[in-house]
Amino acid sequence: MTTQAVQVVGLSKRFGAMTALEQIDFEIADGEFVSLLGASGCGKSTLLRIISGFERPSAGRVVIYGEDLTDRLPERRPTNLVFQRGALFPHMSVRENVGYGLRLRGWQRTRINARVDEMLALVRLEELGDRDPTQLSGGQAQRVALARALAAEPRVLLLDEPLSALDLKLRQQMQLELRAIQKRLGATFVFVTHDQTEALVMSDRIAIMNAGRIEQYGTPRDIYRRPGSIFVSDFVGATNLFRGHVTQVSEAGTTLQTDIGSVALDRTEPGLQTGQRIALSVRPEAIRIARGAGSPGGRQVAATIAEIVYQGSSIRLRAVVADGPSIWVECRDDEAEGIAPGDAVNLTWADSAATLLRES
C-alpha cells in the first residue's frame, strides 16, 4: 500500500449561510502533483486554506501522512504555502525571506546559509540573495516565495495560484520549471489554479471543482478525453455540446435525437434508457471537415461555414447546421485550404471521439 500524502475525509465548510465546500473526500499520493481546478468561488482556495490550517472545516478531517492535523495550528503543520502574490516580507532581504522559517526552527546560522544557497540555486536566483523583495520582477518574486516555502522541506507544498499574476510567456516557462523542481525533489505539490491549460500541463492528477464539490478527479488525459460530466467537458478545453435524448438502445448501439439531428453511436453504456436526456460532447479538433454537402443522417452532419478565425498554428471554423446550433471545428490551416464563409461542408468524427454525457 502506498502512503497517502493527504487524505481529506468528509470535509465541509460553511461561511454563515453560504456553503463553500460540501462533503469533500479525496486523497493525494506521496510525490504526486495534484491540481485543484475550478472557476473563482468554486471552493478550491478554501480547500487549500483548510489543508494549510488557515480555515477550520465545519465538518470532516484532514490527514497528512497518516496524522490527523485538523486541529493543528498553521505554524505547526508540515505544509507550506506559496501565496498568489508571493507575500515576501518587504523588510527582509531575499536571503532573510528564504531563511525565515529555518530561523524560527532554531537552525544554526551556517546551516541556514547553506540551505538558503541550495534553495536559491534550485530556483536559479543565486545572484539576487541580497536584494530587497521590492527590487524583484514578478517571476523572480514568485521563485523566492517558492524557495522560502520549500526551504524547511515541507511534507506537502501548497500553491495558491502562484503564476496567475505573470504574463503568458513567463507563466508557461514557470509551469515547466515548477514541474521539474517537483520531480527533482519528489515532493507532493497541491496546486490551485483556474487555468485549465496550466492544470493539464503540470499535473499528475486534476481535481475539477464546481460549487463546493469535486466533479471529477483523474489524470489530465482522463479528464480531457473522458469528462465525467457536462460541466467538466465544457470547463476543460473547448467542446461542442449537442443536447437531446436517447431514441433507441440496442446491442448494436445507441441512437440519439439531438439539436443537430439524429446521431448513431456504435456503442452503448450501462444504464442508458430510451428517452433519457443526454448531451454529446465532441472536441473541435476531433471533427473532420470536407467540402460539399454529404448525405444527411448517419454520422455526418451537413453545415454551412459561417465564420473563420485565424489563430496562427491552427484555424477555427464556425459551421451552422440548418435550423440548428453552431459547431466549432479546429484544424490545421492547410486542412481547410480554400474553404470560405458560405461554403457548404460535411462534418464527420470518429465514434470514439464523441462522449455521451447524462444531463443531471
Binding site: 494549510s52 490550517g53 488557515f54 495550528l73 498553521p74 505554524e75 505547526r76 505544509t79 507550506n80 504555502l81 501565496f83 498568489q84 502574490r85 507575500a87 516580507f89 518587504p90 523588510h91 525565515y100 522559517g101 530561523r103 524560527l104 526552527r105 522560502r148 516555502a149 524547511a152
Partner: protein, 274 residues
C-alpha cells in the same frame, strides 16, 4: 500654483512665528521689557534650577507613561480593526475619531467630575459598598492626569497605526505563520517591523502632545503634578510673564521630545531585531 495660498500662510504664520519664538528664547527679560541679546542663559537657568528640572522630569515621565499606555492600546485596537473586523473596522475607526472632535475642554472637565473626591466613580463605589472612604489618589494627581491624557491621545495614536496596518496584506501574516511563526514571533519579526513608521508617529503624537498639554494638569492635576506646560503658559498669560524663559522652555520640550523619539525608535528596533 494651488500650493501658494496655504504655503504662504504656513511660511508667514507658522515658520516666522516659530523662528521669532526661537529668537526670543535667546533674549533677556527685564521686568516687562524684552532686551534683544544672544544668550543661552534662559536654557541654562532651566537646566540648573532644581524646580524647573524637577518639573521637566515630571513632564517627561508623565509623557512617557501616557505614551506607554496609549501606543500598545492603540496598536491592539488598530490590529483588531484591520485584521479581525476588516471592513467593519472602518466604522469603529469613525467612532474612535469622532470622540477626538467632541470637546477638548469638555472631556478634561468631565474626567474631573468622574474622578473627583465626591465624583462619579467614588460615589458609585461607595454606593456599591466597595469602599468606605473616597479614593483620594484618583483626582489632582498624576493618576488623574494620565487617565485624562490617555483618553485624549488614544484616537490620535490609532490613526497612524491603522493606516500603517492597511498597507500590510493579510497574506504576509499568514505567510509568517505558515513558515512556523508563533503569534509572538509574528508580532516581533513581521508585524511591528512592517508598521514601524506608524508606531513612530503614534509615539511622537502621544508623547509630544502629552508633554505639551497644560490644560489637563491645570484642571485635573494637583499642586504636585504641575507640568512644564503650566509654567510656559504662566510666562505668557499668567503670573510669570517672562517671555524669553517661556520660549526657551518650549524649545527644551521640543528638543527633549526629539531625543526621546530617536531613543525609543532605536529601542524598538533593537527589541525587534532578530
Amino acid at each position: 500654483m494651488p500650493l501658494l495660498p496655504a504655503g504662504l500662510f504656513y511660511a508667514l504664520f507658522f515658520g516666522v512665528p516659530m523662528l521669532s519664538l526661537l529668537v526670543i528664547s535667546l533674549w533677556r527679560a527685564q521686568g516687562f521689557n524684552l532686551i534683544p541679546d544672544f544668550t543661552f542663559a534662559n536654557y541654562q537657568k532651566i537646566i540648573v534650577s532644581d524646580l524647573y528640572r524637577g518639573v521637566l522630569l515630571r513632564t517627561v515621565s508623565v509623557g512617557l507613561i501616557a505614551a506607554a499606555i496609549v501606543v500598545p492600546v492603540a496598536f491592539t485596537l488598530a490590529y483588531i480593526m484591520r485584521f479581525v473586523f476588516e471592513r467593519r473596522g472602518q466604522l469603529i475607526l469613525q467612532l474612535v475619531m469622532l470622540s477626538l472632535f467632541s470637546g477638548y475642554l469638555v472631556r478634561i472637565y468631565a474626567w474631573r467630575t468622574i474622578l473627583g473626591k465626591q465624583g462619579l466613580l467614588n460615589s458609585a463605589l461607595q454606593w456599591l459598598g466597595l469602599i468606605e472612604e473616597p479614593l483620594e489618589f484618583l483626582i489632582y494627581s498624576q493618576v488623574s492626569v494620565v487617565i485624562t491624557l490617555v483618553g485624549l491621545l488614544l484616537p490620535l495614536a490609532v490613526l497612524p497605526l491603522y493606516s500603517a496596518m492597511l498597507n500590510v496584506p493579510r497574506d504576509h501574516l499568514e505567510a509568517a505563520r505558515d513558515l512556523g511563526a508563533s503569534p509572538f514571533h509574528l508580532l516581533r519579526t513581521v508585524l511591528i517591523p512592517m508598521v514601524m513608521p506608524g508606531v513612530r508617529t503614534a509615539f511622537a503624537f502621544a508623547f509630544l502632545l502629552a508633554a505639551g498639554d497644560y490644560v489637563t494638569p491645570t484642571l485635573v492635576g494637583g499642586t504636585q503634578s504641575v507640568m512644564i506646560g503650566n509654567i510656559i503658559a504662566d510666562q505668557f498669560r499668567g503670573t510669570g510673564t517672562n517671555w524669553p524663559l517661556g520660549a526657551a522652555m518650549a524649545f527644551i520640550v521640543v528638543g527633549v521630545t526629539l531625543l526621546l523619539y530617536l531613543a525609543i525608535t532605536q529601542l524598538i528596533r533593537w527589541v525587534t531585531k532578530w
